[in-house]
Structure formats: structure tokens, C-alpha cells
């Protein structure tokens, strides 16, 4: 009896996205062990251990005050800029200690780019915005080509190619955010960190940024913080859920990592009840 052609491997792939095994086969970009962050003596985040893998989208979700933004800033040492911020534990970047004695934060930030919650284009022309990074880092090669490639990769080129000299502040919110992404891409990073990249944008712009993340993860590793867990469900391969722990006397609040697993697992059968309560919307 003749059998129909069934592609079982592809069938297995549908909707599940990347499986845990597949993800863990990929190189570790970040290895975080027992990380704790405090500001001026007050602990903000404690006890975080997880790995971020290459060419994946990793999302940090959780209620406000759970330390997810603090955590993401550890990856590009932006916490160094906050007086009184102290980072303990280890963060390895491709196996090397990110906070090592002879590591230059400036170099770190070239390879690990960041996009912020509120789009923050510089008050300069569109061209100069994207060219800023390559200029300050004195990167070699044609600046024009670099700028064009970055804008193409950020899905903005077609909209701005005829007005590169115009001020960046004249763009719409969604375009400004894509400009900020292009700006980060122009220095050819390895990792892109996004701190609530779409929370200040309208739904269509948000969807465009999410679609962009799917494209970008082919070449980059992406870590995003989002307070919109549906967004994490849509874009992320791995999701980490953080929660707030309040001290007995109600004074100190600190963030802890509750669960870290594939997005599929977190949103279908989470292991921890706190995770279930959060994603079902029962608890903030």
C-alpha cells in the first residue's frame, strides 16, 4: 500500500519553536552565576543563575520592581554608570569574565548593544545618528555602506533613504525606535539588549519591532525585557520569570529568578506556581 509523503521532522517543529535540547546545543553567549545587584547597599536582585544561548531571543518577564531591567543592564555594564551600584557574582561573555579587571566597559558596549524603552534618537540628522557609533569607535570601512546596511537590517531604509539629512526627531515613534535599533546595529554587535523596546509604541509599530526581532535573531543574540508577557510569548525562545520577594517587615523588596525555561513550557505547563499565577494574570 502506497504511503503518503509525510515530513515528520517538520511536523514535529510546528508551533513548538525551538526545543530545549536544540537551544542548549547552541553556544552559550552569557553564563550568569549567582548574580546579585545592589544600589547603595540596598539589594535589588539576588541569586540569579542562567545561560543565554546564541541566536535566540531570551525574554525577562515579571512584575514591576522585580529587577529585570537591573539585570539586563548587567550585560553591557550600564550599571557601572549608576553611582552606588554594585554587581556581585559572575557574568561570563563567551567564557570570559565581563567584569574582569582588565575589561574595558567601552569595548563591552560595542559588542553588546542596547535599545531603550523610550526611543532616544540624538538631536542630529538620521545619517549622523546611525553614523555616531562607527565614528566614535573609529571603525574602518565605508561609513555610507555601514549606515545603509544598518538601516536595511532595521527595516527602516526604504522609509528614510531619501531624507537622510533630515532631523531624526521628525520621525514617528515607531520609526525612531527602529532608528535606535539601526544605530545599535551599525557597530556590528554580537548581542542586542532591548529594555521594553515597544512599550512606548502603538500596536502596529510594536508588531513591526517583534517581526524585526524574528529576523534579527538569525544573525544576533537578543535579550529583551518586557512587561507584556504576551509579547514574550510571541517572540521569545527562552523566557525567564522574575518575581519580587518582600522582607518580613515589609521594608526590603528584592528581585529573584523564579523559573527559566522554553517559552513553550512557561506558557503551557510552568513548573512553579508563582509563574502560573503570573502568566494567567492572577497575580502581579
Amino acid at each position: 500500500m502506497e504511503s503518503p509523503q509525510i515530513d515528520s521532522a517538520r511536523i514535529a517543529q510546528v508551533s513548538r519553536g525551538l526545543g530545549r535540547a536544540e537551544i542548549e546545543r547552541r553556544e552559550k553567549v552569557f553564563t550568569v552565576t549567582d548574580l546579585a545587584v545592589s544600589y547603595g547597599g540596598n539589594p535589588a536582585l539576588e541569586d540569579v543563575t542562567l545561560d543565554v544561548h546564541r541566536n535566540t531571543v531570551t525574554a525577562f518577564i515579571g512584575p514591576s520592581g522585580c529587577g529585570k531591567s537591573t539585570f539586563i543592564r548587567c550585560f553591557n555594564r550600564m550599571n557601572d554608570l549608576i553611582p552606588g551600584a554594585k554587581v556581585e557574582g559572575t557574568v561570563l561573555y563567551h567564557g570570559a569574565d565581563l567584569y574582569g579587571r582588565d575589561v574595558d566597559p567601552v569595548d563591552v558596549r560595542r559588542r553588546i548593544g542596547m535599545v531603550f524603552q523610550k526611543p532616544n534618537p540624538f538631536p542630529k540628522s538620521i545619517y549622523d545618528n546611525v553614523a555616531f557609533g562607527p565614528r566614535v569607535l573609529s571603525l574602518k570601512g565605508s561609513l555610507d555602506e555601514r549606515v545603509e546596511k544598518a538601516l536595511r537590517d532595521a527595516a527602516l531604509w526604504d522609509e528614510v533613504k531619501d531624507r537622510m539629512k533630515d532631523g531624526a526627531l521628525g520621525l514617528s515613534g515607531g520609526q525612531q525606535q527602529r532608528l535606535c535599533i539601526a544605530r545599535a546595529l551599525a557597530v556590528e554587535p554580537d548581542v542586542i539588549l532591548m529594555d521594553e523596546p515597544a512599550s512606548a509604541l502603538d500596536p502596529i509599530s510594536t508588531t513591526r519591532i517583534e517581526d524585526l526581532m524574528h529576523e534579527l535573531k538569525r544573525d544576533y543574540s537578543i535579550v529583551i525585557v518586557t512587561h507584556n508577557m504576551q509579547q514574550a510569548a510571541r517572540v521569545a525562545d527562552m523566557t525567564a520569570f522574575f518575581s519580587v520577594v518582600v522582607a518580613e517587615d515589609g521594608s526590603a523588596r528584592r528581585g529573584v529568578l523564579v523559573e527559566y525555561d522554553t517559552t513553550a513550557k512557561i506558557f503551557t505547563t510552568p513548573s512553579d506556581k508563582r509563574t502560573e499565577d503570573y502568566v494567567t494574570g492572577r497575580f502581579g
Binding site: M1, E2, S3, P4, I6, S8, R10, I11, A12, V14, S15, R16, G17, I204, T207, R208, E210, D211, H214, Q230, A233, R234, T263, A264, F267, T268
Partner: protein, 227 residues
């Protein structure tokens, strides 16, 4: 504007393809089951029983895919109706697969018993009709075609008639062929049930197309004669 949520659109398409794959497997089982029944081929019947594992496999994967799609993409409107339609159709196809297995088991049990041309003819016809209905049901689903879905009622009527012919023929043949007769009735009933499931898939197709769920025929209000 370029298409948005490309990954999500892709996942929906793949879900429909999964259903198609399952339907192909069911058609294979149905063809083989009827063939085995009609030619009294016990080996082929064994193959049909083995085929059911494949169907169950796709059924499970489709179910998991639906669960993940709902969790991750929160579909609404037409997308949600599609997912729900596939959820139900998935079940109906799997049940059809089980019915084919039942037919195959019956075939094995009655392989040595005498046959009757009229009955075999009826079975063949029911088998053809069933396959046709499965194809039409899936086509109506993919095409969001309400009219095509509704046309399944007529085909189901034909299967029902064949089923009634089987019963009356068996009554003619008399009590000497009781054992075989009992088995034949069950087999006939299975084939008739396959038709019903195809109609159910048609109802899902109509729901997908119109947003309203409507039973084409309701067992308690069916004006047609029994048996």
C-alpha cells in the same frame, strides 16, 4: 505594507498542512480497510491496524501545536475560528482512523466466512463515498467554502442509503450467516460513522466561514427513516 506577524502566519499555514497530512493518512487507512474487507485480506488488515499509530502520532502533534499556538500567539477573530475548527476536525479525523481499525479487526475475524456480492458492492460504494466526503470536507475547510460544506449532507444521505441496503440484504440472507452478518453490520455502521464525521468536519468548515456554528443535521430531529 509587507505582511506582518510572518511567523504566526507561517504557523497557521503549517497547522492546516498538518491536518492535510492527517487526512491523507486517514484516506490511506480507509482505502486499505475497505479493500481488505472486500478481498478478505487479513495481511492488509494488519497493515491498517499498524497505520493507526501514524494517525495517532499526527493527531497528538496537531493537538500540541494547537495548544502552543493558542498559548503563544493568542489568535482572535478568523484566526481563532481556524484554530478551533482544526481542533475539532483533528478529533474527527482521529476517530475516523479508529473506525478503519475496527473494520480491519472485523475483517480479520470474518476472513473465513462466506461473502455476498451485493454486500461487497455496498461496502465498496460506501468506502468510495467516504473518501470523497473526506476530500470535500478538507477542501471546504481550506477554502472557507460554506456551500461546499453543506453539499456533504447529500453525500452522507447516499452512505446512509447504502447502509440501509446492507441491513435489508442481511435480513434477506437469513440466520445461517448470523456471525458474518453481525460483523458486517458493525462494519457497515463504521463506514456510516465515517460519513458522519466528515459531515462534522463540514460543520467546522461552515463555522470557520461564517462565524456561526450550525449542526447540518441533528440526530434527534432527523426526519429520515431509521435503519
Amino acid at each position: 505594507m509587507a505582511q506582518m506577524r510572518a511567523t504566526f502566519q507561517e504557523e497557521l499555514r503549517e497547522l492546516e498542512e498538518l491536518l492535510d497530512a492527517e487526512a491523507e493518512l486517514v484516506l490511506r487507512s480507509l482505502r486499505a480497510a475497505v479493500e481488505a474487507l472486500v478481498t478478505r485480506d487479513a495481511e492488509l488488515a494488519d497493515e491498517v491496524i499498524a497505520f493507526d499509530d501514524d494517525i495517532d502520532d499526527v493527531y497528538l502533534r496537531t493537538h500540541q501545536a494547537i495548544e502552543l499556538l493558542l498559548a503563544r500567539q493568542t489568535p482572535v477573530a478568523g484566526d481563532l475560528r481556524l484554530v478551533l475548527a482544526i481542533l475539532h476536525s483533528n478529533l474527527h479525523l482521529e476517530r475516523m482512523g479508529d473506525l478503519c481499525t475496527t473494520i480491519a479487526k472485523l475483517t480479520k475475524l470474518s476472513a473465513d466466512l462466506p461473502s455476498d456480492e451485493v454486500l461487497l458492492g455496498a461496502f465498496r460504494e460506501m468506502g468510495e463515498r467516504g473518501q470523497e466526503m473526506i476530500r470535500i470536507a478538507l477542501e471546504a475547510l481550506h477554502g472557507r467554502d460554506e456551500e461546499l460544506a453543506t453539499s456533504l449532507i447529500h453525500l452522507d444521505e447516499l452512505i446512509d442509503r447504502s447502509n440501509r441496503r446492507v441491513v435489508s440484504r442481511l435480513l434477506e440472507l437469513g440466520p445461517e450467516n448470523l456471525e458474518w452478518g453481525l460483523r458486517a453490520i458493525v462494519a457497515s455502521r463504521c463506514l456510516e460513522r465515517v460519513g458522519d464525521h466528515a459531515v462534522d468536519i463540514g460543520e467546522q468548515a461552515a463555522f470557520l466561514a461564517t462565524g456561526e456554528f450550525r449542526e447540518f443535521t441533528d440526530a434527534s430531529h432527523d426526519p429520515r427513516p431509521l435503519g
